[in-house]
Chain length 157, copies 2
């Protein structure tokens, strides 16, 4: 497991892949983004997209699932404080196989707490052609390691 | 239905409400954010949150569903170009009843196209106590009205 102290700017992490089916696109959209270009392959042909496309929020949810299953295993989990600059340069299409590339941009201890630090992470979701379907900068809260906690404790006592 | 020409900065729109159950939180998280504080009420007690909480991406998906069902009925649908400043100031808890308040921040025609304009929209998702669980600025592409298209056409001919 990784702690805040293990991360430095420039570190990169990868994820497994996930192939998004038309059925999954439609099921997500029926519940969370019920618009014809996400729920109905025929009606979608008359839309701006010209075909069925995944909701951007579906691409975001799939990306999160891949990140949780990826090789950046953070002790205490992936705690999102928020996101800057979430963009969908092209839609996820039925049959697309997605993966996420993560790069640490900034690390920053939280002055008011000894147990966690802030990490800014670039996350690019790519399709099977290597084209980005999502680009975002995520702000995470990452647990500090036991050695750091012990050092703080010994300074206090 | 509303067109780009119908929107001006300061316009506000509302949505219906949706009550998020523990079952829905767990079902979403198992598929898209499988971390114990989102999938397991008992394990969640030992987490930073101290109880089961919804994934931020679940709050985002529920918010999108409410916006699509809300009173900002855009002809051509809600086409998101991306999001700035997505924040989750507090988590969505089981039983929370959410709604979204939307406010038009900026409108901006797209110089290169006559059929659509850009709209920047503030979207605040509130729980039953009126506390924000999500704050974001969304960038939309909004269809222009038939009268505008006709005016452009007549200028051309």
């Amino acid at each position: 497991m990784l702690y805040f102290e293990d991360l430095k700017p420039g570190d990169t992490f990868a994820t497994p892949t996930h192939t998004v089916t038309a059925e999954e696109i439609i099921a997500f959209a029926r519940q969370y983004d019920p618009q014809p270009f996400h729920t109905d392959a025929v009606a979608a042909q008359a839309s701006l997209f010209g075909q069925l496309v995944a909701s951007g929020w579906h691409t975001a949810a799939v990306s999160m699932g891949l990140m949780v299953r990826g090789d950046m295993k953070l002790d205490g989990g992936v705690l999102g404080r928020g996101v800057d600059q979430l963009r969908w340069p092209r839609p996820t299409l039925p049959g697309d196989t997605l993966r996420v590339e993560m790069t640490v941009l900034e690390i920053d201890p939280v002055p008011s707490r000894t147990d966690r630090g802030r990490v800014k992470l670039s996350c690019r979701t790519l399709n099977q052609a290597g084209e980005p379907v999502q680009e975002m900068t995520a702000r995470l809260l990452v647990q500090r390691g036991p050695s750091f906690a012990k050092a703080v404790e010994s300074r206090r006592t």
